[in-house]
Amino acid sequence: MGKLKYRLGCYLFLLPAIIYICLLLIYPLIYNIELSFRDVSLISYMRGTSKYLGLGNYQKLFRDPIFHRILCNTAIFMVLSIVFQFVLGLLLALLFNRDFPLNNIFQGLILLPWFVPIMVKGNIFRWFFSDMGTINGFLSSLGIISHPIPWITSKSLPIISLSIANIWLGIPFNFILLYTGLKAIPVELYECAQIDGARQWHQTIYITLPLLKPVIVTTLMLGSIFTIKVFDLVWIITKGGPGNISHLFSTYSYALAMEQFKFGMGAAVAIVMVLIVTAITIGFHCIKVDY
C-alpha cells in the first residue's frame, strides 16, 4: 500500500514538466502539421472555416522559386558555417590546450560574445556589412577595393555574408565543446608518446583526434541542428531580403505566417524543416552507434 502511494508521489514530481512540454511543445508541433494541410488566414482561423487542402500547400511550396532558393541557401549556409566553425573551433581548442600565460582570461574573452544577446550581435553585423559600413571602410582605406562590396544588398552575396556572421557566432560553442573534450584525454598518453619519440603533430593525429572522435561527432551534430534552425540572425540582418533571396526555412516560414498571414504555408515550411532536423539527428545517431 505505502509503496504504491510512494510510486505515485514520485510521478507527481515529473508531472508538471511532462504536462508543460506536451501542451507547449508537442501540441503546437502536431497543430503545425494540421495547419500545413489547410488554407489558414487569421479570419478563417477565428471563424473556424479554414479549408482543407490536403497536400496542396506542399505542392505549391515545391513549385515556389523562393523555396528552391531556400534549399540552395540552406546548403551553402550549412556547409560554410559548419566547416569553418568546426575547423576554427578545433584549432582554437588545440591552441588553448597548451599552457601559456593569460590562457584563462583569453578563454573568457572568447566566450563572452556567446552570451551577448542576438539582437546586438545581429545589428553589429548589419552595420559591419552595410555599404558604408566598417568592413568596406577598412577595405577601401587599405586600397583593397575601389567600390564598396554590396555584402547584404546584392543578389548573390547576402547568404555568404550571413554565413560569415554565423561562423563568428558559432566558434565559441565549437571551441568550448572540443576544448572540454581535449581536457578529458589523459596526459599520460602524451607522456608515453613523448618517451617513444613521437612528434607533436603526430601526437595530434594519432592520439588526440581518434580519442576526440565521439566529441567531434556530437559537436558536428549539434552544430548542424543549430545551423539549420537559425532564425534571429538572418531576420535581424537581412529579413530574408533583398527580394526574398537570403531566406532560410525558419525566416521564410515566419515571414509567410506572421507577415503575410498565410499560416498554412508557413506551417508547411516549418514541417519540412522539422523533417530535416529529424533526419540529421537520426543520421548522427547511426554514426554514434558505430562505436
Partner: protein, 273 residues
C-alpha cells in the same frame, strides 16, 4: 608562475583569434561614443576621437521604458523554469522511475525543435486564449525551451550527487516533498543557480517571442525596444549601438560574476545521450 619566454609566444599567437572574436563587441562599445559623421569616417576609428556620453544618455532615456518589461519577462521565465524543472530533474535522477529513459530522451529531443515551428502555432493558440499582448504569453513561450534544457542540466548534476542523504532522510520518515525541499534543493544550489541564470539570460536575450506576441509598445522588452533606433529612413547607428551596450550590460555582468559555472552548465547537456 613558471612561464618561460617561449610560452609567451603562444600568448601572442592566441591574441590574434581572440581579438577577431571580440572586436565586434568592442565596436558596439565605442560606436555609442561617436557622432554619426565619426561612425562613417574612413578608415573607421579604432578609438573614438571625441568621446561623448550624449548618445548613451539619449539611448537610455528611450530604453528605460522597456527595462521593466524585460525584467518581468526574464524573472518570470526564471521562476517558472525552476519550479517546473527542478522537481522533474529530482524524479529523473533519483527516484528510479519506470519510463525514465524515455522521458530523458524526450527532453533532449524537444530541445532540438526550431523555435519558429513553435512560435506560429502558439501565436494562433494564444490568440484564441487572449494571451497575445500579455507578458504571460511570452513567459510561457520562452519557458517551453528553457524547461527541457534545465531538466537535462539539473538531472546531470543530481545524478552525480550521493544517494546517502536522501536514503537517511527517508528512513527518518520524511516525506518525498520534504526531502526535495530540505535535502535535495540545498545540495543542488550551485546547479540551480546556474540553471536559473541561464534561463534568465535566455529570456533577456529573447527576441522572437517578444516580437511575435507583443504588439503593444508599453509591453515590449528592451530587445524589441532597440527597434526604435531603426527608423523607416535608416538606422541611427550610434544610438542603436549605445542602446545595445546598455541592453547587454546586465548580461556581461552576470557572465563575469558567474564565470566558468555558466559555461560548464551550457555544455553539461551536450554530452548526455
Amino acid at each position: 608562475m613558471a612561464h618561460t619566454w617561449k610560452d609567451w609566444k603562444w600568448t601572442l599567437i592566441a591574441l590574434i583569434p581572440v581579438l577577431i572574436l571580440i572586436i565586434p563587441i568592442y565596436f558596439v562599445l565605442i560606436s555609442g561614443f561617436e557622432t554619426v559623421e565619426e561612425i562613417y569616417h574612413q578608415p573607421p576609428y579604432l578609438i573614438p576621437p571625441n568621446p561623448t556620453s550624449q548618445y548613451y544618455t539619449e539611448a537610455w532615456t528611450t530604453l528605460n521604458h522597456y527595462l521593466m518589461n524585460s525584467l518581468v519577462i526574464s524573472v518570470g521565465v526564471l521562476a517558472l523554469t525552476l519550479v517546473v524543472a527542478a522537481p522533474a530533474a529530482f524524479a529523473l535522477a533519483k527516484l528510479d522511475l519506470r519510463g525514465e529513459k524515455t522521458v530523458s530522451f524526450l527532453m533532449a529531443l524537444v530541445q532540438m525543435l526550431p523555435v519558429s515551428t513553435v512560435v506560429i502555432p502558439l501565436f494562433l493558440i494564444f490568440f484564441r486564449l487572449r494571451l497575445i499582448n500579455t507578458h504571460l504569453g511570452v513567459i510561457l513561450g520562452i519557458s517551453a525551451f528553457t524547461i527541457p534544457f534545465s531538466v537535462i542540466l539539473l538531472t546531470a548534476y543530481m545524478r552525480s550527487m550521493p544517494w546517502g542523504l536522501i536514503q537517511a532522510a527517508r528512513i527518518d520518515g520524511a516525506s518525498l516533498f520534504t526531502i526535495f525541499l530540505r535535502v535535495v534543493m540545498p545540495i543542488c544550489k550551485p546547479a540551480i543557480s546556474t540553471a536559473g541564470m541561464l534561463a534568465f539570460l535566455n529570456a533577456w536575450g529573447d527576441f522572437i517571442f517578444a516580437i511575435s506576441f507583443l504588439q503593444e509598445r508599453p509591453l515590449q522588452p528592451m530587445s524589441v525596444g532597440l527597434y526604435s533606433f531603426i527608423g523607416q529612413y535608416g538606422t541611427k547607428w550610434n544610438l542603436l549601438m549605445a542602446g545595445s551596450m546598455i541592453y547587454s550590460l546586465p548580461v556581461i555582468i552576470v557572465v563575469i560574476l558567474a564565470g566558468k559555472g555558466l559555461v560548464s552548465g551550457l555544455t553539461a547537456g551536450a554530452f548526455k545521450e
